[in-house]
Amino acid sequence: MTIALEVIGAYKTFSEEDDQNRRPWWRVWQRKPRRQIVAVDRVSFAVRQGEIYGILGPNGSGKSTLIRLISTLLIPDGGKVTIFGRDVQIHVQAVRGLINRVSVDAAFFKKLSAMENLNYAARLYSLDVREARRRAGIIMERMGLESKKWNSPLENLSRGQQQKVAIARALMTEPRLILLDEPTTGLDPKSKRDVQDFILEVRENRDTTVILTSHDMDESERLCNRLAFIVDGKFVAEGTPAQLRAQHGGVSLEDVFFAVTGKSVESEAVAE
């Protein structure tokens, strides 16, 4: 079985101003005190081609940082990430041609229509514009986005509709690895269901590997072949949903998360 993604000891810290230890205002010549935050703490895992691998954790646990390390948007302080055997730090352009990403905030030019944004994406990924639009159209129709919406500025579309366009834009480039960073957060129940159904369809009909981050346990159980819990930048448990339940007890993944971490993922999400 081909390994689509391998992360070995990924480590990432950020430096931020230390609010607890402020510099007196008159000492302008001194650098403001800073502290190091460990966002991803020596994380290792591997994902097989065609798998949907879930990374679950509360807000601020390091999910998005990990996704950015994989998608060449951050340089790790330590460790290594390879995608289909290519090091993301060395073969940057080759890796970028293999992946695509859907983030929690649909990254679009909001004044442009879906089709204008798709044209732009097609040219960035060296696709035939007509063919790319055809592919994206099929995906958007499949997810229930009516064609009359395709030429409206995206700012006039709901968040759920925008997220469907984002998924179509990512999949039209036929990535071998797609990174879905909380793709259903904040969506209405119908849009959430449409997106989830489509992700399942991708698993059935395409050979695309999916990395899905979420703090929705039900969604992760429904969609993922395997998953890992991340807390404070560390992976604290990994396995199939059934394995995790068997190892740690509990009826639902939420019970398992609580058993492993002593915390509730939802309450943390709300608190942050």
């Binding site: 998608s71 951050l74 340089i75």
Partner: protein, 269 residues
Amino acid sequence: MINMRRSLGATYGFVERNWNLTRRYLGWEVVWLVYNVVTTLTMGLIGVDSQGIVGRDRVLYLLIGALLWTYLSVLFQIMGETVAWERWEGTIEYTFMAPVNRITYLTGQGLFGVTYSLVRTAIILGITVLWFKLDMSQANLLGGFVVLAVASLSFLGLGLLAAVLPLMSPERGPQATHIIQGLLLLCSSVYYPVTVLPGWMQPIAALNPATYTLDAVRAAWINGVPLADVWPLVVKLLFTGVVLVPIGLVVFQIGERYALRTGKLKRNG
């Protein structure tokens, strides 16, 4: 060959994207155009004496300063605020993780910037010539536009150097680009000859490509000097551009690596 075709396609993609955005923000385009026309006319009116007699050379001196400053500052802003603008739209990560190298990205931005700025300058020039009923029959208009095109290279380079600032500091970088733009205006002959500047500023003005651009365009448009006669200035501009653009590209790439290492590509990274 395939790579070349892909790069050209992506370059066109950036130009097309910017054109689509310009159409969608048409209301703002009209606002900025009106503002530029009004400020250019205001500067030109300073050259009209108290009897209402239009001093052609004096008016043209000021008009060309205002016009060229509009051209160069718009070009500088398009390049210098590339990163800040994509960050504001929320698309910076999407654009930067696409399999397109930075030279292609910046070439697309630059190509659009030059075309857009030239069209705007031509519109403002037409309106001001009609307003002041200026006799431009002796002017070497084409020569002036050639100088502008050559000068664009230098300002693209300066824009690239400024574009790195928002990459390195999302909060303060965009403000710093405005400071650079202000200094370029102060240390040049946009509205006055550089000889009126304090002695210590004159060497800085001598390094500023805007100074040569203005001298060459004024010679072509006010006195109708043929391009061959301002050739030394054009060569200086060309040389400045050839030096500044590669330096700008290298600095931009260093800045990008810094942003990727520190998580500053996205504000909440």
